[in-house]
């Protein structure tokens, strides 16, 4: 608990400037739409006073129009919780979400519906996110009518056809009449995307939108999302455990571990030259077809024998139990997210050992900032 308290103090003093100092590569794409500022989310587990799971700790980032920001992390790292916070499905413990510069406060039903007009979400499992008793038409028609996107029978009909064709489901009339179980996974996910886009939102939260789909289908859905982002000036938050897809799909990558952002920067740079030891582990763990068995045959790397714990009782860097570079300081004091270069930041005390090339290359600022 005390640890979290210091972190919160830090949020106003030490950490925030580091966050502000890093220019988001996503900002090059378009104007700022949504800001997440110092988000915290605790869940009570059990009845004890200390039985609090801080699922999200001091997470800040911005979403820009036409840009994709990827949130990368393993299951339980809090990335889906962030999506739910931004979607208004969960209440913040502390922090602030701003949409178009003004603070988001969803109090009544009306506010919520207005908010939903701007911020929409695509769920992970297309087999669960469509109601089996309703047709595709029902799923897409509801938001169109609820939000008054189109009025009158003919206009609604035109809008439905447009939405379904927009996600490349043709012939539209045929697909509108179908039930979810008559569609393949990829087609279902496209219906879910069409439903989310029906209200013409400015922000799309995509929570692992392709992880339940076959490899050959994934690319099509991702490229569809990419296409729609471009056409409708969408700001996309792409949540994934697959860091390789973030490399191809995202402008900025935020790597999460145990509820915190441990590294952020341009997706290409983060995947090609990871700074944080956890990102390094993530990158080296991804299947590498070029290795053709050689890496697996040499056996495990001795890293990460123990899964990270998000319980708030842990002190110090949450990755330290798995980190090969961890020293006493790492175990006692949590590292803040500090600037590594103009557009990159990492939360690690031992960057000089973990990623010496980054620290020496970009010199100055990074090292300075790392001093407590």
């Amino acid at each position: 608990m005390s640890d979290r308290a210091t972190r919160r103090e830090g949020a106003s003093g030490r950490v925030r400037p580091a966050h502000a100092n890093v220019a988001s590569p996503a900002s090059l794409r378009g104007p700022l739409v949504m800001e997440a500022d110092g988000l915290f989310k605790d869940f009570r587990i059990g009845r004890g006073k200390d039985a609090v799971l801080s699922a999200v700790r001091d997470v800040s980032f911005n979403l820009y129009r036409k840009a994709v920001v990827a949130l990368v992390g393993e299951s339980g790292s809090g990335k889906s919780t962030i999506a739910k916070l931004l979607a208004g499905q969960e209440q913040l413990t502390s922090g602030e979400i701003r949409l178009g510069g003004s603070r988001v406060e969803v109090s009544g039903r009306h506010d919520f519906r207005a908010y939903k007009r701007e911020v929409q979400m695509v769920f992970q499992d297309p087999f669960a996110s469509l109601n089996p008793v309703h047709t595709v038409r029902y799923h897409i028609e509801r938001p169109v009518r609820l939000h008054g996107i189109a009025k009158g029978r003919a206009e609604v009909e035109r809008e439905l056809v447009r939405l379904v064709e927009q996600v490349r489901l043709t012939p539209a009339q045929q697909f509108l009449a179908k039930y979810p179980h008559e569609l393949s996974g990829g087609q279902r996910q496209r219906v879910a995307i069409a439903r989310a886009l029906a209200v013409q939102p400015s922000v799309l939260l995509a929570d692992e939108p392709v992880s339940m789909l076959d490899v050959s289908i994934r690319l099509e859905v991702l490229s569809l999302l990419d296409d729609l982002r471009e056409r409708f000036d969408l700001a996309v938050l792409y949540i994934t455990h697959d860091i390789a897809s973030a490399r191809y799909f995202a402008d900025e990558a935020l790597v999460m571990y145990a509820g915190e952002i441990v590294e952020r920067g341009p997706a290409e740079a983060v995947t090609q030259q990871p700074a944080h030891p956890y990102t390094q582990l993530l990158v080296s763990s991804a299947p590498d077809p070029d290795a053709l068995g050689s890496v697996l045959r040499t056996g495990a790397r001795g890293l990460g024998r123990q899964a990270g714990s998000a319980l708030s009782t842990a002190t110090g860097c949450r990755f330290s139990p798995r980190c090969p570079f961890a020293d006493d300081r790492c175990r006692q004091e949590a590292p803040p997210l500090v600037r590594v270069s103009a557009d990159r930041a990492a939360a690690c005390w031992r960057l000089d050992v973990a990623a010496p090339s980054l620290v020496t290359t970009h010199g100055g600022g990074g090292v300075e900032d790392m001093a407590p």
């Binding site: 979607a87 499992d125 089996p132 609820l146 939000h147 008559e182």
Partner: protein
Amino acid sequence: MAAIVPLGARGTERLVRRRKRAGGRRLSTKARVGAVICAAFVLAAIIGPYVAPYDPSVQSFLPGTVLHAPDAAHLLGTDSLGRDVLSQLLVGLRTTLVLGLVTGAIATFIAVAIGVSAGVLGGFWDEILSLLSNVFLVLPALPLLVVLLGYLPQKGETATIVVLAFLGWPWGARVIRAQTLTLRSRDFVAASRETGERTWRVIFFEIMPNEVSLIAASFVSTVLYAIGTSVALAFLGLSSSSQWSLGLILYWAQNGNALQLNAWWWFAPAGLAVALLGTGLVLLNFGIDEIGNPRLRDASGASKIGGKAWRPSDPTPVVLAGSPAPRARSFASAFSRRSAPGATAGRAAAGQGGRS
């Protein structure tokens, strides 16, 4: 109720339609037999009072019409007061069936209201409502009914319906609550909130259509319970004696010592009618279960393959078409392994037969 019945009907219709489209599967034999039996009883209840040959309450003490075995004039004979048993049966069937259906509808309505509310509201309300249904569930129903009906000012049909409905909802409520809890956490419910749907719409249009088969099953079993219990109550003399019902026939038969007098025609038709109606309802319930639970359907669907019945635990049946054709020379043996070119042979392995 008005909001639920049409929805339910539409949902079931859709379910059936989907089933048909999906695999061309129809209801199982069991369910069809059940549906036919129930339909026959409903028909009999509708037209019964109009086709009944006599007034069931008119007594006749003419010689040869008291406790008379079935003959052309009285197809099911007469009782000890000379009343026509067939007429009693036809008139009584309607009473019993209406009582069962109305009780079932009211009890199901309560069950749905409480079950869905508990599941959707969760937390405090869930605990209160669950406690309530558990209390009602452990109440010993029949003794309580006897006491309640015994002390009620008038023992009419309405009193029976109210009391039976009052005691008949908790089982359904528990099942529906459990289903609602699982449905509530499904993504499509969250997705409909994302769309901006109101809570009532989420309940009535997203959650409840998925519970149609469960609600129907709950309704059918409550009807079964109501019919059984009402017959038992009437048999004990705890119903109005002016309104003919299957139970009342049995009550009179018991009072008139029908069994001792060997007057089988007096009690057997009513008894068989109750048993048959019960069987029909149970079979119908099986059918509804199979619609709601595809696993049951598959288990019953694929029992016979290659002329033999298979249990689900059996290994995969092997039904080779005709005699095995002479196998084509495999590609691997065409290239002797030893002659495979040097170093690269290490990784390669054979066995891909060249099919021809």
